[in-house]
Assembly symmetry: C2
Homo-oligomer: 269 residues x 2
């Protein structure tokens, strides 16, 4: 039997990773969990984010995934090591892939990062970048207004453009040539962000980079799916299923199988 | 003690991978072997390429590398599995990283591949692409005139431009948006190839993609170098040391420590 890849996020942001997995590795089956009842994670204390992430991972383990993707920068920043310590399958976050892609992209050696308050405060990207290459210069900026826009499905509008422009003003005078979209919600706003930053700044999305590293690790460990038929993905959300389903179908371009979760705190070890 | 990464190639082509490792992961120490006495590998029978690759890997194992990179497409195509079966460290080739990057890049789903006769005949890229994503369409072309240009250090000239233009003519009518430079020598010719293919075709270099996958695998297995001081790399070649040294210093932009190898066939298991 084909074991799935479990992908979890605080809400709909991780769907950007799902779309990339479907595009790059169409044979892989995905089980997705969006914690839409408790989104956003960005402003929450680290202990709470760790607890929520553990709950969701415990829930997803019933599907016997071969890999877990924490498709949420905030949860990756504070909970990745914790989750790695209590499951026996590879756990991939979105921060190392984004950092690695930024290092591959930058010529000036100056990399910008935008993310939630939680992600920026954790300094997880700075540390990931410096661990790989100590010569990289980093400029970080929290953009707390972006996630609510995306969770409302407000991807492109005059209001969105204005919010994006105002939020990114502090980065305009910094000589960066690469900007990490350090939140899986932000690729929904790529057009606005790209228009503000201009063509000289390459945007790095966690979504495609994470799907690609997932592909590397599955292949190196001999776990790539090989069955010829296309898989049926499954989606779970803890909040309003109508909004989730609308955004998921709009973003993924297809009908989805959605199971709303009446959230009960699972037993965790 | 810091264990090095062993990188081997049929000649100077693998220096493109070395440069990317130095750029992306400046803390990693590299031991490089260029088999310049027996280059090119492209036109040779598979059995011979396998034998040469085994000889070089056996030689390099004395340095106790933590990873081996086969930075030669021809050798990857025919010898990767063989080498994996007789060493106990991870062995990374250049084909899977290039295929993965092409899948990430393409929007049209049509990917071109240029390589040596040996690489194209092996169909290794087609198989790597289809294994990841069966929906990709592939067009392959052997360019046997490219490696001699590079091994002579003739990176950009009217002669080079003309050879590149003539060689790539068969690809001009194919609606590809991504072209894999399926030979580690070809990044030396990026300017010429890019000028012929035009801005609508993204060029995928094995060099940066392979360095990046190396980074992923080292990090996932907890083997990234962490010492603060910069490493001293070592270079070996089996042919004329003057040509090798000139190309290496020109390409890497620094003085190198080169040990010419008086080639003796090592004992292999």
């Amino acid at each position: 039997m084909q074991r799935p890849i479990a992908i979890l996020d605080s809400g709909v942001g991780g769907l950007t990773v799902v779309r990339e997995v479907m595009r790059q590795l169409p044979r892989e089956k995905v089980i997705y969990f969006g914690d839409t009842a408790r989104t956003p994670y960005g402003p929450r204390p680290a202990e709470e984010v760790i607890r929520f992430t553990r709950e969701i991972v415990s829930y997803l383990m019933q599907f016997k995934p071969k890999m877990i993707i924490i498709a949420c920068n905030t949860a990756t920043a504070v909970a990745l090591e914790e989750i790695r310590s209590f499951v026996d399958v590879p756990v991939v976050g979105v921060i190392n892939p984004g950092a690695r892609a930024a290092i591959n992209s930058t010529k000036s050696g100056v990399v910008g990062i935008i993310g939630t308050v939680g992600t920026v405060r954790s300094r997880a990207y700075e540390e990931a970048l410096k661990r790989l290459n100590p010569n990289i210069h980093v400029a970080s900026l929290a953009c707390p207004q972006f996630v609510p826009l995306v969770e409302q499905g407000n991807f492109r509008s005059d209001e969105t453009d204005e919010t994006v422009r105002d939020s990114l003003t502090p980065l305009k005078d910094i000589p960066l040539d690469t900007l990490i979209l350090g939140c899986t919600h932000y690729p929904f706003l790529t057009e606005s962000i790209g228009a503000v930053m201009g063509p000289g700044v390459k945007l790095i999305s966690s979504d495609s980079e994470t799907a690609r590293e997932m592909s590397t690790i599955l292949q190196e460990t001999g776990k790539l799916a090989s069955q010829p038929e296309l898989p049926v993905h499954q989606f779970f959300c803890s909040g309003d299923p109508r909004i989730f389903k609308r955004i998921a179908q709009q973003w993924l371009g297809k009908q989805i199988v959605l199971t709303p979760v009446v959230w009960q705190i699972p037993q965790i070890g």
